[in-house]
Amino acid sequence: MPFKRYVEIGRVALVNYGKDYGKLVVIVDVIDQNRALVDSPEMVRSQINFKRLTLTDITIDIKRTPKKKELIKAMEAADVKNKWENSSWGRKLIVKKRREALTDFDRFKLMLAKIKKASLVREELAKLKKAAKA
C-alpha cells in the first residue's frame, strides 16, 4: 500500500489541533522534517508542525512561497473550496458543524422529521410486503 498523499508545495491540509482547528491551509514551503510553512487566504503565513495537519487529496499548482495574491489565484483555479465541500470528508464536516449548532427547537423539529420519514418508509414497506404476499 504505497502512500497517496504527500507533503509537497501546494498540498491542501486540514488543521486538526490548536488555534486554527478546522481550517484548510496550503503547504507553501517545508521548514524541516517536522514543520511546514503554511498559508491560507484568511491567515498570516506561519509555521505549523506536521502533527497538527491532516493532508487532503487536494493540491494546487503553486511555486515555492508564492505571494498572497498568487496563492489566492491558484486556489481559485484549482477550485479548492468547491472540491472540499463536495468531497465526502468535507460534507461530513459540514453536517457535523450543522448538528453542533442545533438549538433544542431544531432538535425537536428534527425528531418530528425523522418520525415522519420513518412512517413513510414503513408505509411503503407495508405496501411492498402486501404486494409480495399477493
Partner: protein, 177 residues
C-alpha cells in the same frame, strides 16, 4: 509563537570621569530570557573585553530586536562556545527556521539534548543567515529542494484539545496516513 530566548540590543559605557569625559560606547546584541538577564550578560561580556564593570558603568539603552521577516524560511548558522565536562569547545551549527530566535531556541535545546550542555554554559559568538549555497550541514541542505515531496509515514491520532483527552479508548487507532 513565544520563544524562551529573546534577542536584545544592549548599549552601555563606562561612567564619565575627569580623565575620560566621553568614554567609548559599546553595543552588544545578545540573547536572554528577559531584559534583566540581558543587562547582566552585557556586563559579563563587556568585563571580559574592556576594563569596565556594572559598578563603574552605565546602561544607556536596551531594546528588544524582533524578526524582520517571520514569514520566510532562512538557514541560520550559529557559532557558539560551550562548556563541556572537560573544557571549552567551539561549535558551528546550522538550523532552518523562520525567525532567528527560533533558530537559537533550537540550538539551546539541541545542545541540551545532544551534549547535556545547560543554557548558561553556552555563549553565542556569532549568528548569520546563510544562503542555501553556503550551507555546510546535510540535514539543512536536504530541504533545499524547490520540489520537495515526502509522505507522512505515521498519523498522530489525538483529540483536538487537551480537554477532550480520555484515558481509555474503545478501539485501537488507525495510524495509516
Amino acid at each position: 509563537m513565544s520563544y524562551k530566548f529573546h534577542q536584545y540590543q544592549v548599549v552601555g559605557r563606562g561612567l564619565p570621569s575627569e580623565t575620560d569625559e566621553h568614554p567609548k560606547i559599546y553595543r552588544m546584541k545578545l540573547w536572554a530570557t528577559n531584559e534583566v538577564r540581558a543587562k547582566s550578560k552585557f556586563w559579563y561580556f563587556l568585563r571580559k573585553l574592556k576594563k569596565v564593570k556594572k559598578s563603574n558603568g552605565q546602561m544607556l539603552a536596551i531594546n528588544e530586536i524582533f524578526e524582520k521577516n517571520p514569514t520566510t524560511i532562512k538557514n541560520y548558522g550559529i557559532w557558539l562556545r560551550y562548556q563541556s565536562r572537560t573544557g571549552y569547545h567551539n561549535m558551528y551549527k546550522e538550523y532552518r527556521d523562520t525567525t532567528l530566535n527560533g533558530g537559537i531556541e533550537q540550538m539551546y535545546t539541541e545542545m541540551g539534548s545532544r551534549h547535556r550542555v545547560r543554557n548558561h554554559c553556552i555563549q553565542i559568538i556569532k549568528t548569520a543567515t546563510i544562503p542555501a549555497k553556503l550551507c555546510k550541514r546535510e540535514s539543512t541542505k536536504q530541504f533545499h529542494n524547490s520540489k520537495i515531496k515526502f509522505p507522512l509515514v505515521s498519523k498522530k491520532v489525538r483529540p483536538p484539545s487537551r480537554k477532550l483527552k480520555t484515558t481509555y479508548k474503545a478501539s485501537k487507532p488507525n495510524l495509516f496516513v
